[in-house]
């Protein structure tokens, strides 16, 4: 099925981006300390870029967590349910999660469009909408993942 290949590609891409963002973060944060303490200088754009990187790493990490179904839950009731009942309740919570993600993604996309039209600048020459792009993307992908998880559970697929 083509969907499986696409999901595999997306997973690979996600991992690659995660590794890249985190590496960049470490190098940039380390370099900034060296510059500041060694040369009494520092890159003006490094600090805001690092802050945006935290947001990006957080959301890409959250996408990966959705893929592995490893988001933080409370989950005290479903321990008491039978495996069969649990399948249905988890399918329900997954679909609801997908719906929440969809609403968040939609309103985040509206924000990005507004910022694009407004032409605000985040830092250096980077427009704000580019930094915000990860919001609709992240919640959109998470929404799709939870939808797929929920449907898979109803069909009796093994959990990831």
């Amino acid at each position: 099925m083509g969907g499986g290949r696409l999901a595999g590609l997306l997973a690979w891409l996600e991992d690659a981006v995660l590794v890249l963002l985190l590496s960049l973060m470490v190098v940039l944060a380390g370099g900034q300390i060296l510059l500041r303490n060694g040369l009494d200088a520092g890159l003006v754009w490094a600090d805001p870029l690092l802050r945006v990187l935290v947001l990006w790493v957080g959301l890409v990490g959250a996408m990966a967590a959705a893929r592995a179904d490893r988001h933080i839950t409370v989950d005290v009731l479903s321990r008491l349910l039978s495996p069969r009942a649990r399948r249905y309740t988890r399918a329900l919570t997954d679909v609801c999660t997908a719906a929440v993600c969809a609403v968040l993604a939609w309103h985040a996309a509206r924000l990005v469009v507004t910022e694009y039209q407004g032409g605000a600048i985040a830092f250096a020459d980077v427009p704000a909408w580019v930094c915000e792009l990860i919001l609709p993307l992240g919640f959109g992908v998470m929404g799709l993942r939870y939808l797929a998880l929920g449907i898979g559970r109803l069909r009796g697929a093994p959990p990831p």
Binding site: M25, A29, I33, V57, G58, G61, V74
Partner: protein, 424 residues
């Protein structure tokens, strides 16, 4: 509105990810208040406006690197050589090693899985009772939450700072405040372990073994200095210390010891960022929900309601202990921090509780809640890890629970213990 709230709580208890439950609550709140829902996205974006947040991915990555390397083994060998000759020595080893390890990894499940596997067989082999050993390993899983740079400690600081309620404080101050209460917990548990195992034969202190263990751990030994020295010395900010730590740990474990092959590195990074992502989305959506709650003046009304029943600060603290213990049994520590602190801090400040002290009390209670019978989370993790019945672990954990309960009470009613180091 009430129906929706009940439905959300039910969904969360059935296993809906917390970020979705909190996000839905924020969206519903904004919708009812007729606020444009893109406010939720704007609030979430504030994650990119908090400089100290950088410390979270960096320290977490450093912690995961440490746990994947041979550092836990060297740590246990070192503490064993230094403390093993004391009565109950190996128990002290477990306590010290777990506290150190949890401070770096922050999440307590990791400690039980990574160190418990090492310590439990060693304890049994050395003649410690099964029940004592199980209880000790389960308890130690959350020890060290109060020591910098533990993730929950940083998260409390960030959440409290962005609320802007009560006396402003810095993360360094919070780090200092955790030292004595954390040490009290370790000391009391050590005393109990020595007393409980006073009948065991002692082993001799070996100078050669100590020297060998010190030499083996020579690269990890400077770590506390790398992390804390710069911060307390005022040389670097917390996020910078995190960067130095991660670079140092990478250098030691990947390049010097070569215990993590380069091709394994992406997997370790991904594992660490999975946790970071899980914590940050919860923080992000809770920024939105907190914004709604403050707009709706919920904390102020909550304070009024509580004050009509509870008039003395002492009674408030007692109530706080009970409430936090229950909370810690049910809720993950990160979720508890971002959901409850925004509601709790204004109330506590109203009763004259210092925000730094509240943070330490909060985390100390959460730590206890982790293994509070019958549903503390560590009991289940340990039950899975050691293949024991949960009921058996509950029985094993009770004496340790009582010891730490005493520590938590001391920490709660003696603010000075938390605050004396931070005073200028």
């Amino acid at each position: 509105m009430t129906v929706a709230a009940v439905a959300l709580v039910l969904l969360a208890l059935l296993g809906m990810p917390l970020f979705a439950a909190i996000g839905a609550a924020a969206l519903l709140g904004f919708h009812a208040a007729e606020v444009d829902l893109s406010v939720a996205a704007i609030e979430f974006y504030r994650l990119a406006e908090m400089p100290t947040l950088l410390a979270i991915p960096l320290f977490t990555f450093a912690g995961y690197l440490l746990s994947e390397s041979g550092a836990p083994v060297r740590l246990v060998a070192l503490t064993r050589a230094l403390l093993g000759w004391l009565p109950g020595g190996l128990a002290l080893v477990a306590l010290a090693a777990c506290a150190f390890f949890t401070a770096f990894t922050g999440a307590s499940g990791v400690t039980i899985v990574a160190l418990g596997a090492l310590l439990y067989p060693a304890l049994r082999h050395a003649g410690y009772g099964e029940r004592f050993s199980l209880g000790l390993v389960t308890t130690s899983g959350s020890l060290g939450l109060l020591f910098a740079p533990s993730l929950p400690l940083i998260l409390y600081g960030i959440v409290a700072q962005q609320l802007g309620v009560g006396r402003p404080f810095t993360l360094d101050e919070l780090f200092l405040a955790g030292l004595l209460p954390g040490a009290l917990m370790v000391l009391l548990l050590s005393g109990f372990s020595m007393w409980a195992n006073r009948g065991l034969p002692l082993s001799a202190f070996s100078r050669a073994e100590a020297r060998a263990a010190l030499w083996a751990a020579r690269w990890e030994l400077p770590l506390p200095v790398v992390v804390l020295g710069g911060i307390y010395g005022g040389l670097v900010a917390v996020s910078e210390a995190a960067a130095v730590t991660v670079i140092y740990v990478f250098f030691v474990e990947v390049l010097v010891h070569r215990e993590i092959p380069l091709r394994e590195l992406p997997r370790v990074m991904r594992e660490a960022m999975l946790l970071v992502g899980g914590v940050l989305v919860i923080l992000g959506v809770s920024l939105a929900s907190t914004n709604y709650l403050i707009d709706a003046q919920v904390p102020a009304r909550l304070f009024e309601a509580v004050r009509s029943y509870v008039d003395s600060p002492l009674a408030f603290l007692l109530l706080l202990n009970v409430f936090l213990l229950l909370l810690g049994m049910m809720l993950d520590i990160f979720a508890a921090l971002v959901i409850v602190v925004p509601l709790l801090l204004p109330i506590a400040v109203g009763y004259g509780v210092d925000p730094v002290h509240l943070g330490i009390v909060f985390l100390a209670n959460m730590q206890l809640g982790y293994f509070t019978p019958p549903v503390g989370m560590n009991l289940f993790i340990a039950s899975l890890r050691f293949r024991k019945d949960v009921a058996e672990l509950v029985r094993a954990a009770v004496p340790f629970f009582l010891v730490l309960l005493f520590a938590v009470l001391v920490i709660t009613y003696w603010p000075g213990l938390s605050l004396m180091l931070g005073r200028p």
